[in-house]
Structure formats: structure tokens, C-alpha cells
Amino acid sequence: MMILFALLGALVIASAIGVVALRHPIHSALCLVLNLVGVAALYAMLDAHFLSAVQIIVYAGAIMVLVLFVIMLLNIKVEQPHRRGIILTLLATLAGVCFLGILAPLFYRGLRGFTDHSSKIEGTVEAFGELLFTRYLFPFEAASVLIMVAIVGAVMIGKRHQQGGSK
């Protein structure tokens, strides 16, 4: 179990670094797919079976296909290195390390009060659906309205504007 976690963790971190570090957007997108699949496997290890499947179907299946489609549609060139690039990269990495330094003690000190109820719950479709359609029914319906609005908004934004006059 521990070895599996270490392997998946290494995969997830390496592919996340790949997303940021690789020059070509296509390579970044493929690294992100790898990352999402790794996270889905971690969900499965955490007994969140339904979320693991949804992660693959929605994220790796739908969203990333959309992203790759846009990248190929726009035919992007490789990003040119910038003059201030090195300094900016160093500063951003420094900021990231500081941020991590703030987070890390929280995890080790703040978690001591937790009692671990591990392995009592399982995110099966049955348990998930029951909760989603009873206590979280209203947010669920609101989410469907949100998706509808997003689709209409995407169509409006993507529409070509006519010359002269807003149509």
C-alpha cells in the first residue's frame, strides 16, 4: 500500500512539474492528463470509488479533450523564453516555498486533535447518490442551472461579432 502511494505520489508531483515546466502547451496538457489519472488512482485508494470514476470521465475525458481541442484549433507556437524569465521563475519558486512553509506545520500540528475514523466510509455510487438526492438536492439542482448558464455564456462569448453594431 505504501509503495503504491509513493509511486502515485511521485507520478503526480512529476507530472505537475511537467505541466509548469514544459515549453509546448500540448506537452503540458498531456502531463496534466497523467496528473489527473494519478489523482483518480489516489481517490480509489481513499475509497472514493465514484469520484475516481468521475475524475477520469469528466476531467481526463471531457475537460482535457476540450483543452487539447482549443490548443490544436489555435495552433500555438512554443513559448519564447523571456528576458526577465529567470528572475521571475526564481521569485515565484521562492514564493511557493514560503507558501509551503506556512502550510507544512499546519498539517503536522493541526491534525493531532483528529480522531481517525478511517475505513468506515466508502464513496460508492449508492451512498453518494443517496446523500446527493436527499440533503444536497438543492445544490445539485443549482449546479445543473449553473452548467446551463455556462453553456449559454460560452456560446455567447464564442460567437463572432458582426461588423458594426452589436448583434
Partner: protein, 100 residues
């Protein structure tokens, strides 16, 4: 059994990489993907907490984050295409004015 703090550390690392990516990269599509990376890091920590606390509410939260991420992808990519049409590039520094 793997302690929850391992998952949280992994999530923190992923989130930090995402933050650095947003700061470093200038291609708006890569910035978008880094935002997805951060969302995933938060999702991972929520699933880990959900198991630790012992109820499914955290996983429901992750589900809604995924819904919002899907909506964000539709709108965000639409905006990226509109941006490319008006400026002919995807540099985030090119998009410095609001009017066309």
C-alpha cells in the same frame, strides 16, 4: 493504512506547483491548466479529510468543485478563443486592455 497527513502534504505540493505555474507562465492556456492543478490539489485534500472525519460530505464538496470546474472550462476556453481572435496571441501580457 496511509496517514492522512501524507495525502495533505501531496496536495500542498501540488497546489504550490500550481501557484508557481500561474506566476511563471504567460501562455493563458497553461495558466488555465495550472488553475485546474490547484483545484485538483484541493479536491485531493477534501477527499482525504472526508475519510478522516468519517462522512461523505467532503466528497460531495469535491463533486460540486468538479461541476464548477466543468463550467469554468467551458467559459474559460471561450474567453481564450475570443482573446486570441482580438489580439492574435495567447500571451497574458498582451491582454492589457479591456476594449477591443
Amino acid at each position: 493504512m496511509i496517514p492522512v497527513s501524507f495525502y495533505l502534504t501531496l496536495a500542498a505540493l501540488m497546489f504550490t506547483i500550481g501557484v508557481c505555474g500561474v506566476a511563471i507562465r504567460r501562455n493563458v492556456i497553461v495558466v488555465f491548466m495550472c488553475i485546474e492543478l490547484m483545484l485538483n490539489a484541493v479536491n485531493l485534500s477534501m477527499v482525504a479529510f472526508s475519510r478522516t472525519v468519517g462522512n461523505l460530505d467532503g466528497q460531495i464538496g469535491v463533486f460540486f468543485v468538479m461541476v464548477v470546474a466543468a463550467a469554468e472550462a467551458a467559459i474559460g476556453l471561450g474567453i481564450i478563443i475570443a482573446l486570441f481572435r482580438s489580439t492574435r496571441s495567447l500571451e497574458s501580457s498582451e491582454a492589457s486592455e479591456l476594449r477591443r
